[in-house]
């Protein structure tokens, strides 16, 4: 049974489109939110969602099947107008995903599998705020609500069950985690910046936000060191005083433009004793290198140059790629579950199952009755057939109507309620006479009590048998 609705995802990302196109379609400069515009232009969609980050722009729509072709042409002209690019040009950069693929893609995006840096956590927040926008503009409905909530839970599951977010993937963060593994808590530690370059400043920011106690800056031109020291509320040194500064530091970030080594093995060896062999972590991000590689051989001194850090990062990225495969398995099963939900959502199979069940019951009861009443004429038989048919139609009118009406407000619940009441998911089982007898006995009892209460004694046998039928159904 094909679905009545289509989930359509149209988007572009850093792999398919250059930045000129991405920024045009990001709607960052437009005064109206694209969802608001889409709604105004009366495009024929049921639900819509729009995500825009620096690496991707994605629309996701829920459409009725018959709307699809019309909608696509409308949407193409909408994008042409908004981006001032020709549709032919845009088209080659866009990806169009439907149903299963669209769901899978949304899950992958939320988990960060589709990001430039695999497993980065920001994207989940961006998806969440995109969903909030869709709620604000009232373009999300039952399908998107369920789909996006599923997105969040899948992302959480992937994050906790796989190592997709593990390991540092930027050089400065890798340096920070290393420092934590060497020095433990950074609260009582001191960072020394050798060279007041931008790189050093950036790397230092990680440590400052990590709660470092003090920042020292040593630079060839002291004025620049003083400037930076003011920014970090630290102390400034000239390069001649480097030994003094090194004695006080626990972490050294070196990034001078010097052509030869600034920190030599002898220099570090001479400060070990005054430091009482406290561990010293030296990060050399300068090219050419600032620190003699032999420094790493000294006791309790750990030297990492830019290549070492890069290989740490690459190792972590490899690890994440491995974990991404495990994440795929989780996503795969969740997509399957979601599709099952979508199918259940469709009310036609339920209605059909309901009428089929009623028909089977009717046939059986008729056969029984005809067996007993042998000398009926054809006309009479026909009359009984019509009677039973119309009885069933009238009885089923309400539940069917209930499904159709409340499908939009309650969705699956309305359907599953009906399925439960009529036991549509269980194999057909005839109710035994004994069960019916005991049920009707209870009905009689309730009735009698009612009658005693109201002392209005008018029993209608016809009515009585009718109510029996309802309950049996």
């Amino acid at each position: 049974m094909p679905l009545k609705i289509t989930i359509l995802l149209i988007g572009l990302n850093h792999k398919t489109a250059p930045v000129e196109i991405r920024e045009k379609l990001s709607f960052k400069n437009s005064p109206f939110h694209p969802l608001e515009k889409l709604k105004k232009e009366l495009l024929s969609f049921k639900e819509a969602y729009f995500l825009s980050t620096c690496n991707r722009v994605e629309f996701c729509f829920v459409l009725e099947n018959h709307q699809k072709t019309n909608f696509l042409t409308d949407f193409a002209s909408f994008l042409e107008k908004e981006s001032s690019f020709k549709w032919e040009k845009l088209r080659s950069h866009l990806y169009f995903l439907e149903n299963e693929k669209a769901i899978k893609h949304l899950f992958e995006v939320a988990c960060g599998l589709d990001s430039m840096v695999i497993g980065e956590p920001q994207i989940l927040g961006q998806v969440k705020s995109a969903y909030k926008d869709a709620l604000n503009y009232r373009t999300s409905g039952i399908v998107l609500n369920k789909l996006l909530h599923k997105c969040f839970s899948v992302a959480k599951k992937v994050r906790t069950e796989t190592g997709i977010g593990g390991g540092a993937v930027s050089i400065s963060y890798a340096a920070y985690t290393l420092a934590k593994k060497i020095l433990g808590s950074l609260r009582d530690k001191t960072v020394l910046l050798v060279g007041a370059g931008e790189m050093a400043e950036l790397a230092c920011m990680h440590f400052v936000s990590g709660g470092i106690r003090k920042v020292l800056i040593a630079n060839r031109t002291i004025s620049k060191a003083v400037e930076l020291a003011e920014k970090f509320r630290g102390e400034a040194y000239s390069l001649d005083e480097l030994t003094t500064a090194l004695t006080k530091a626990d972490i050294v970030i070196s990034s001078t433009g010097a052509p030869s080594c600034v920190i030599t093995k002898n220099m570090v060896a001479s400060i070990l004793k005054p430091r009482k062999y406290k561990p010293l972590f030296i990060i050399d991000i300068a090219v050419p290198r600032d620190v003699e590689p032999e420094v790493n051989k000294l006791e309790n001194v750990y030297l990492y140059d830019i290549d070492d850090l890069k290989s740490v990062v690459e190792e972590n990225l490899k690890e994440r790629k491995k974990e991404a495969l495990r994440a795929q398995v989780i996503i795969e099963t969740e997509v399957f579950k979601f599709q099952k939900w979508l199918k259940e959502l469709d009310f036609y199979p339920t209605i059909r199952a309901l009428t089929e069940k009623a028909e089977i019951l009717r046939q059986k009861e008729l056969a029984k009755t005809f067996k007993k009443l042998k000398n009926l004429s054809e006309e009479e038989k026909e009359a009984i057939e019509i009677l039973t048919k119309s009885l069933i139609q009238k009885l089923l009118y309400h539940p069917i109507n209930f499904i159709k009406k409340s499908y939009h407000e309650e969705g699956k619940y309305a359907i599953s309620l009906i399925r439960q009441i009529f036991e549509l998911d269980e194999p057909f089982k005839e109710v035994s006479d004994y069960e019916i007898e005991s049920l009707s006995y209870e009905i009689e009892k309730v009735k009698k009590e009612d009658i005693e209460k109201s002392s209005d004694s008018q029993t209608d046998s016809q009515k009585n048998s009718n109510s029996k039928k309802i309950l049996i159904q």
Binding site: K181, L183, R275, Y277, P279, N300, Y302, V312, E315
Partner: protein, 274 residues
């Protein structure tokens, strides 16, 4: 009764070790919480066992060597919980510590009951329990320090070689391990000194001389001197990390000789015999 609590604690420790294994693999907080809770349960059982056992030892005046091993394992768990109360968090230690705890318990079952303390008749003095308790406690801190030293060496190797592999993520920071080492060193030294002093005083009170140069006394003195040198170097020069860890391993090998070889096989004052 005591046996029941012994087996209970053994099995609960084993389960807790599996829990720590899961924590080591996943690094999840909840897993750690459960593992620690189970460990604490085992510790309670073990403590009940020891309350019963100490009562028995003092009523029967018989102390078998096997119970020393058992008591050491109790101490290791005790020290673990003490360190979890300090701000230095080295939870992964549990994963490395529990095999040793279980090993000691298994050994304590294997050792025959007949290997008895030479001082069986002399328990009821003030000094003997003090001597035995402080001595065992110093051994406990030594063993704990050995475990963290091994962890330190594993972690430091990976960081120094710039090959951040399996242990890098799982093991605590070097600084923390070193701090635990330091505490173990100081406490072990203090308790060892106590044990030697109380032993000497007790010896004087019962046998009439403080020191008799028996093998046990000599080797304990060597151990004490290693401790003293290590503390001296640490405070004044700053021996720490790798060097301190290796010294701990040296101290451990000397302890092995003193605790197993001399206690069991040498002929002398401290010899346990059947």
């Amino acid at each position: 009764m005591a046996d029941l609590f012994f087996f209970l604690s053994f099995f609960v420790y084993a389960i807790s070790w599996i829990g720590f294994g899961f924590y080591f693999k996943t690094l999840k907080r909840e897993v750690l919480k459960y593992a620690q809770f189970v460990l604490f349960l085992g510790f309670l059982f073990h403590s009940i066992f020891w309350i019963i056992k100490i009562y028995q030892i003092f009523t029967t005046n018989i102390l078998s060597f096997k119970y020393l091993l058992n008591f050491l394992s109790w101490e290791l768990v005790f020290i673990y919980f003490i360190f979890t109360l300090t701000p230095i968090k080295t939870y992964a230690t549990g994963f490395f510590l529990l095999p040793l705890v279980l090993l000691l318990l298994i050994l304590s079952v294997i050792f025959p009951q007949q290997i008895l303390s030479p001082f069986s008749k002399l328990f009821k003095s003030f000094w003997f329990p003090l001597h035995a308790f402080t001595g065992l406690l110093s051994h406990g801190f030594l063993l704990f320090g050995v475990i963290t030293s091994l962890m330190y060496l594993l972690q430091e190797r990976e960081i120094k070689k710039k090959h951040l592999g399996f242990f890098f993520k799982k093991l605590p920071p070097l600084e923390y391990l070193d701090k635990v080492n330091e505490k173990c060193l100081y406490l072990g030294f203090i308790f060892l000194s106590f044990a030697m002093i109380s032993g000497a005083v007790w010896s004087e009170a019962t046998f009439g001389n403080y020191w008799r140069w028996s093998p046990k006394e000599v080797i304990t003195l060597i151990l004490w001197l290693i401790y003293a040198v290590l503390i001296h170097q640490r405070v004044l020069i700053g021996w720490r990390g790798k060097k301190a860890s290796y010294m701990f391993l040296l101290g451990f090998s000397i302890w092995l000789i003193s605790f197993f070889m001399i206690n069991l096989f040498s002929k002398g004052f401290h010899t346990y015999a059947s």
